[in-house]
């Protein structure tokens, strides 16, 4: 701060300088802090070891390789890992991790869609629509997420028909009908048509991936051309054509290798197709609607942060409304939107641990739930669980930081 008050160099060192001399004081503070922290950690650690010794437990991760012996309901994670009750605890943990990643990914996608649409509608000049969106935001932001999860789960299990309600009686009437004859929403889960992968479907997927890359390359080229020469190529329609036309043509050329397997009511339940369990639906919808309400406000604040002069200037240049939005307002709004959006994504991922309320087998339920209770290895399980969430948070932050840097204002 003020170097005048420090005693001149070379006049010998006094002990009081450790407190009064700004050159040494910061060192003193840090050493004291360090000693206190080491003392606290040592105290906690010795307590831990003493307690574990009393219980006759040494920290040991060997239990992860032993047989789990419990079943996890069929679903995304179970089918990928190929999990059975004969698998190990570590496999159970991976099933949980995959399920957590699934619901987090689905939630982030849907929450972003809801948030962006609601955020734009919130700014609509339409009085009714903007008020409706305000009600949505306030209702979801001011009520605990847990309540929304159990509420939506109760809707899914208590208010939806049983599978047998879909049975058509002699008069051709059923108590409940499938949506588009394809989707059945029942109290045992949602049944959707699932894809059947025929012999040549691998080629189809490869072509699809290639054409999506082609569409991205085209967009890049068009953008470069615009910035270099000012020539504006149409971007949206050609990109869609490049991405989808080859696949659709090939689909018929190869003789429809991919078909749809519709759920069919047989016995007491539906069979065939794809089943999405009610816990997953409830958790997914609740997480998306809840986080979507926060994203709505973020998008709204982002769009409002772009000064009015920007849109006026773009109109003065003769740009159409959609081009003003996509070329002028959104790129500037994105810079304000991305940092808080990242923290909402992180919140959603962490909040997916509320799966406990509906019995969805996420990583907290397998590793931090049944495995923990069966083996009694609370310390090891909680440590691994914490590390997993920490790593996931850091990865999401990292990805969003990269995205943020690519959107940042290019300053000279």
């Amino acid at each position: 701060m003020s170097s005048i008050s420090d005693s001149p160099r070379g006049s010998g060192f006094h002990l009081s300088q450790l407190i009064y001399d700004t050159r040494y004081r910061s060192m003193t503070i840090q050493v004291v802090t360090f000693l206190l922290v080491v003392l606290a950690i040592w105290q906690l650690g010795s307590n831990l070891l003493a307690n574990l010794a009393n219980l006759g437990q040494e920290p040991d991760f060997g239990f992860l390789d032993s047989r789990a012996g419990y079943d996890i309901g069929s679903g995304f994670g179970t089918s990928i890992i190929g999990y059975t009750s004969a698998s190990t605890h570590i496999d159970a943990a991976f099933v949980g991790i995959l399920n957590t990643l699934l619901v987090a990914f689905l939630g982030i996608v849907l929450a972003t869609i809801i948030g962006v649409i609601a955020g734009v509608l919130r700014l609509s000049k339409n009085w009714l629509v903007s008020r409706l969106m305000a009600v949505y935001v306030e209702a979801f932001r001011n009520v605990p997420l847990l309540l929304w999860i159990v509420l939506i789960y109760a809707v899914m299990t208590e208010s939806t028909p049983q599978p047998r309600a879909f049975r058509v009686d002699e008069a051709g009437i059923a108590d409940a009908y499938m949506v588009f004859d394809a989707i059945a929403i029942t109290n045992r889960g949602v049944y959707l048509p699932g894809p059947i992968w025929g012999p040549n479907s691998g080629i189809l997927i490869a072509v699809f991936i290639a054409s999506v890359i082609g569409a991205l390359v085209y967009r890049r080229y068009a953008k470069k051309l615009l910035f270099d020469t000012g020539r504006l190529l149409p971007m949206v329609w050609p990109a869609i054509v490049i991405a989808f036309l080859p696949v659709i043509l090939l689909f018929f050329v190869l003789g429809r290798p991919v078909g749809l397997d519709y759920p069919v009511l047989g016995g007491f339940n539906f069979s065939g197709g794809m089943q999405i369990s009610n816990p997953l639906v409830a958790l997914w919808l609740a997480l998306s609607l809840y986080t979507g309400a926060f994203i709505t406000e973020i998008v709204r604040a982002g769009i409002l942060s772009v000064s009015k002069g920007q849109s006026e200037a773009s109109e003065a240049l003769g740009m159409r409304a959609n081009r003003t939005m996509s070329l002028i307002i959104l790129p500037q709004a994105m810079r304000v939107i991305i940092p808080p959006l990242t923290s909402q994504y992180l919140n959603l991922t962490k909040n997916s641990s509320l799966a406990i309320a509906v019995g969805y087998p996420d990583v907290r339920a397998t590793l931090g739930g049944i495995t923990l209770n069966q083996t009694g290895r609370a310390l090891e399980c909680m440590l691994l669980l914490g590390l997993f969430y920490l790593a996931l948070s850091l990865i999401i932050s990292f990805v969003m930081n990269v995205f943020n840097n690519s959107m940042k204002l290019q300053e000279r």
């Binding site: 407190i19 004081r25 629509v129 306030e138 847990l146 159990v150 406990i356 909680m382």
Partner: protein, 438 residues
């Protein structure tokens, strides 16, 4: 020239003003408003119609259910009998009787019925204690009384000897005196000395002293263990305690994170990131399953207290990030101005930087508090009976087996009121503190 003149004189023109006419119907009143706000373009008109349909859809389902609500019954089956008798078996009617029957449980949990006056009084004391903090119109000297209310509330809720909270409160007096005496020597000595002496006082002197005084002069009320706390009372106790404790802790963490001191800075970053990177529910399980492992063997303390500590640490990390944003937003000239006035670190923070930084961070801090209060519902998973946990125990009774919506609506409404009020207050505070446009 004359030609044109004559043309003008020949031309017809009106010499009197037209009588004022009412504007066309489409340009006035409700129709104009409708046209401009609901049907300005085709697309907008379609959106309006979709929105109207959505509102009608929701109201037509919830409206009759809500309006037909039955408030006076002893069980769900009785509710259904009343509905069948008055409205017919197909009518939808809410059974709010569960709330009139069980509201005491939803509010107080399993707190002894004879002692309901204690949490009620504590609640009003809390409001009274908060008022001088929240509203500047109330004289500042009431703040001293506000500082006492937490101890009185603790005494009312937990009961037991009056001397324990009294001697713990005395710690602040001890701290104040130490700071004053040591402050004459040196600021840093005063800070370290005060923290040390108060810490030692609380750890080793306060409770034995209180017990000693209690054995001479026993004053107290029935002690009630916190395992009997429940319902909204539990949510408010955890929420308020964590809010009050996490704000100062969060500010200290933010200062540490913004500090130039390498070690302090890195420790703060590590603490904040680890806390924020892991979901609260994992921390709560840690509190209930693991915390005892880290304490001296043989100690076992209250689960509610452990939860309060965990929730406090959790929200302190979030507040630290919010305040860090505020600290970064204060212009550098303000820091330099404080330095050039010769203020030391704590003076410049207390008098110049923090008032501005905290003003900027108000919306973020209040949002963190709202999130914290909502997150108190998570304690249900470690066996505490918050309102959502009580819905399960209410459903477990034969009278109310199978009741969902009415309870959820009630709980949601209570949380909505509390959180919405907090949000509104933060807006009021922001407007009040806005100094640029005065």
């Amino acid at each position: 020239m004359s030609d044109t003149d004559s043309q003008v004189t020949n031309a017809y023109f009106r010499e009197t003003m037209l009588a004022q006419q009412t504007p066309p119907v489409t340009e006035t009143g409700a129709i104009k408003w409708l046209r401009e706000n609901l049907f300005p373009t085709w697309l907008n008109g379609i959106m309006t119609i979709v929105a109207l349909y959505a509102i009608w859809f929701i109201l037509s389902h919830i409206g009759p259910w809500f309006l037909n609500g039955i408030w006076d019954a002893q069980s769900l089956s009785e509710c259904r009998e009343i509905r069948d008798a008055t409205l017919g078996p197909d009518a939808s009617a809410a059974c709010f009787a569960v709330i009139s029957d069980r509201w005491q449980q939803l509010v107080f949990g399993f707190y002894p019925q004879s002692a309901y006056w204690r949490p009620t009084l504590a609640f009003f004391l809390m409001l009274a204690g908060l008022a001088p903090v929240l509203f500047g119109a109330i004289p500042r000297r009431w703040l001293t009384a506000s500082m006492l209310t937490p101890f009185v509330i603790y005494f009312l809720l937990w009961g037991g000897s009056v001397w324990v909270p009294a001697f713990i409160a005395l710690g602040f007096v001890v701290g104040g005196l130490t700071a004053r005496v040591l402050g004459r020597l040196n600021q840093m000595v005063a800070l370290i000395g005060t923290v040390l002496i108060v810490g030692l006082y609380w750890a080793f002197i306060a409770v034995p002293l209180a017990n000693a005084v209690h054995s001479i002069l026993p004053i107290g009320i029935m002690a009630i263990p916190s395992s009997e706390f429940g319902g909204f009372m539990l949510s408010v106790v955890i929420g308020m305690a964590a809010i009050i404790l996490s704000l100062p802790l969060g500010i200290v963490l933010a200062l540490a994170r913004a500090s130039d001191l390498f070690l302090v800075n890195k420790l703060a970053i590590g603490f904040i990131e680890i806390i924020r990177g892991v979901p609260l529910i994992v921390w709560l399980f840690t509190a209930s399953l693991l915390l005892n492992y880290f304490l001296p063997p043989g100690t076992n303390f209250d689960l509610t207290l452990r939860v309060i500590i965990m929730v406090t640490l959790f929200s302190a990390a979030y507040i630290a990030e919010v305040v860090r944003g505020g600290l970064a937003a204060v212009p550098k000239g303000q820091y330099e101005g404080a330095d050039s006035l010769g203020l030391d670190y704590w003076q410049s923070m207390r008098l110049i930087v923090l008032p501005q930084a905290l003003k900027i961070s108000i919306p973020g801090i209040v949002n963190t508090f709202i999130g914290l209060f909502k997150d108190t519902t998570l304690v249900v998973f470690i066996g505490l009976l918050d309102p959502l946990g009580l819905t399960n125990s209410i459903r477990a009774s034969t009278d109310w087996n199978g009741i969902y919506w009415e309870l959820y609506v009630f709980i949601g409404l209570m949380f909505f009121i509390a959180c919405y009020a907090m949000g509104r207050y933060s807006m009021y505070l922001e407007r009040k503190l806005q100094r640029e446009n005065r």
